[in-house]
Symmetry: C2
């Protein structure tokens, strides 16, 4: 894409009303725009990153059998009353059907999570044990009335989430799939380029524990104890160890750190199938309750976390798997980059072509701020070659056009 046709600019200064480094950088570099606290627009570059994260997540979930659906934002009040969460769920947005300012009693909720929709939906589609297991997921905007929406897209009032729901005949089958998901999540975050700790956390009434996928970061609201050697990791909320204790699994040294949760997996058991009478007929003909699990990944939050842990004093450093473009082609004289841009595009390389009338310094600053993995510079000085540099790296090489295309495609 030509940068002159991106329509969105970078800013000289980071915004003053944001605390998180990810929000500062994403706004300054033109990936997102703040509409109000906890509510953001995703601009062309930001939406490209989000779509890449979504597609990695989608592929990982389809691989274990998930089928995609799209549930609504508007939820009937009665469903939430049935599960007791109309009053229990403290950050639920509830609103009135009339559309007036004068305080009509609320009849709807904005989807904060979707057990209240998917359980009655499956009630129509599951009748016998032959219909189980069932795995349905969506990638959808969610709403929570967060009192602490001060961290940009790390904690939004409106945010994008992948939520998968699984339905099983037995607790053993749920348990088995839970382990499958643990592995699927590991692979997903590895592809995204995030190092995660699979962390024990509280599990609700059905199961003692759930698991959170935590990324170590100062901006995180969770506190995690983890072992430097083995895979031991526990959220402060459930752990029995203290700062300085040795690892209860392997005896090695443990550390404590702030962390941000990017995903979680949770055994719901029969809590929601009881509320909506979601049963199946077993092989013997007997009606039994369905066992459920739910599995979330914060898509927009993940985008924020990547920036939070991958940046320097000049800007963002995107991992290649989720970068908005693979290469940033900068011409220092009008038209010099046109031919290579055409050849790279034809070879299927995603390239942002800086064809704007700006000074070299302005272009280099923008490239560092935006953080595309490979920077290519063409000028009178590079003659028939191209200067290539990895974002975050130091070495600069002069390579022929053919060599560039070979390396990047």
């Amino acid at each position: 894409m030509r940068q002159s046709e991106l329509y969105i600019k970078t800013f000289r200064e980071a915004p003053k009303d944001e605390e998180a480094i990810s929000a500062k950088l994403l706004i300054q570099a033109g990936f997102i725009n703040k509409e109000m606290a906890g509510v953001y627009t995703y601009l062309p570059l930001g939406l490209k990153v989000m779509r890449k994260i979504e597609n990695i997540v989608r592929e990982g979930i389809e691989k274990v059998g998930g089928r995609e659906i799209l549930m609504p934002v508007l939820h009937p009040k009665e469903n939430w009353v049935k599960t007791g969460r109309w009053t229990e769920f403290d950050v639920l947005y509830k609103f009135d059907q009339s559309g007036k300012d004068d305080g009509v009693v609320a009849n709807f909720a904005l989807g904060a999570t979707h057990e209240e929709i998917i359980t009655p939906l499956l009630q129509k589609n599951i009748s016998s044990y032959r219909d189980l297991p069932t795995y349905l997921y969506q990638i959808q905007t969610k709403f929570r009335n967060e009192p602490r929406a001060k961290s940009g897209i790390l904690r939004g009032k409106e945010f994008i989430m992948k939520d998968l729901y699984s339905f099983h005949a037995t607790p053993e089958d749920l348990e088995k799939f839970y382990e499958t998901m643990k592995e699927a999540y590991r692979q997903i975050f590895e592809r995204i380029g995030l190092k995660t700790l699979v962390t024990k956390a509280s599990g609700g009434t059905f199961s003692k524990y759930s698991h959170e996928f935590q990324v170590l970061a100062d901006a995180g609201e969770d506190t995690v104890f983890y072992c430097l050697k083995c895979d031991f990791a526990e959220n402060k909320e459930v752990t029995t160890i203290k700062n300085g204790d040795s690892c209860p699994q392997c005896g090695d040294k443990t550390e404590v750190s702030q962390a941000i949760e990017v995903g979680n997996i949770f055994k719901l058991g029969t809590r929601f199938s009881e509320a909506f009478n979601l049963t199946y007929r077993g092989a013997s003909g007997k009606e039994k309750l369905v066992y459920m699990g739910c599995y979330g990944i914060g898509i927009s939050r993940t985008m924020g976390v990547i920036v939070e842990v991958s940046n320097d004093d000049k800007g963002i450093i995107w991992p290649e798997s989720v970068a908005p473009f693979k290469a940033h082609l900068i011409e220092l004289k009008k038209g010099l980059g046109r031919e290579l841009y055409g050849r790279l595009t034809k070879a299927g390389v995603e390239v942002l072509y800086d064809d704007r009338d700006l000074t070299p310094g302005e272009k280099f600053n923008d490239a560092d701020l935006i953080g595309i993995p490979w920077r290519l510079v063409i000028s009178d000085k590079t003659k028939n070659k191209v200067e290539i540099k990895k974002r975050g790296g130091k070495s600069i090489k002069l390579v022929s056009h053919d060599g560039i295309i070979q390396q990047l495609s």
Copy 2:
């Protein structure tokens, strides 16, 4: 995809609480599920159709230079107050920030359209005439408190829409792009397989006319006068001709019909740039107001309209360009279709493989109801061949596996 892993069923009977044939069929065939009046879940088959429509629309809009963004659902009240539409826009959902039942004054709106977001956003990104024209669009869920939400996804309270906004230095440039969009829309709807009438309709304060893309259908809420020979078409709201009049353009016969609007293009002029002081510095250094246009396509409504006009007494008949799958492979004996399914999938053909333990009659009924373009039947009777039939057609042919792959890939 194996039909046994679709997780969603068809129903023996159409729902009794729907009036529109599209809603009846889409629910019975397992494409959508009704959550409440005007609010639906898109199930795996339905979401596949919607994604195909979205992609055709996306390609058409990118072709004329549109760049995709994603604006939020939650809108600050102050933006809507600034344009006067907080009170003027009668189907706007307004709600309170507190999330309580006790009638706190509303501070937010749910996005019903996005001029109130994009205009101030562009205010940060447009400064000089060099920044114009600018074309930004999104595919996003919209919310309108429709009192007449009785037509399934033809008129939802929550629905998916593509909305493009254009920004110009002069009314002439807006006019030029308006004509470009008229042609782009024609091509988009042609690819989708919908015959549309480009219909003159009322245009607001800036322009006398806007244009609606109307599909003739009994379930439509609009009344359209159109010529049987030339391209004359006018919405009843603005036309001066009466039933039986001859065409004012070519003198031929006109007809009147109910119709459903699937898209519209609209010159906004300076109405919103005035409200948000969206100006640019001209070549002479003078500050001038930006001219705007907006261009909508109802994505979920388009899905409903296709079914409304393309069905028979057995079910839906999808055009190939938006069908959830290209072929529906039915085996009448367990395992008979497995090899062909594998070969078709490998050849890149999207195929739904009915591997379920049901009677031939049940499978055929489902295939007709779901409406995938090509039905393939493998049974002991077809031996090493396959029966192929076009949905909505009559002729059945026996073709070899190789022949099937050649025809469909």
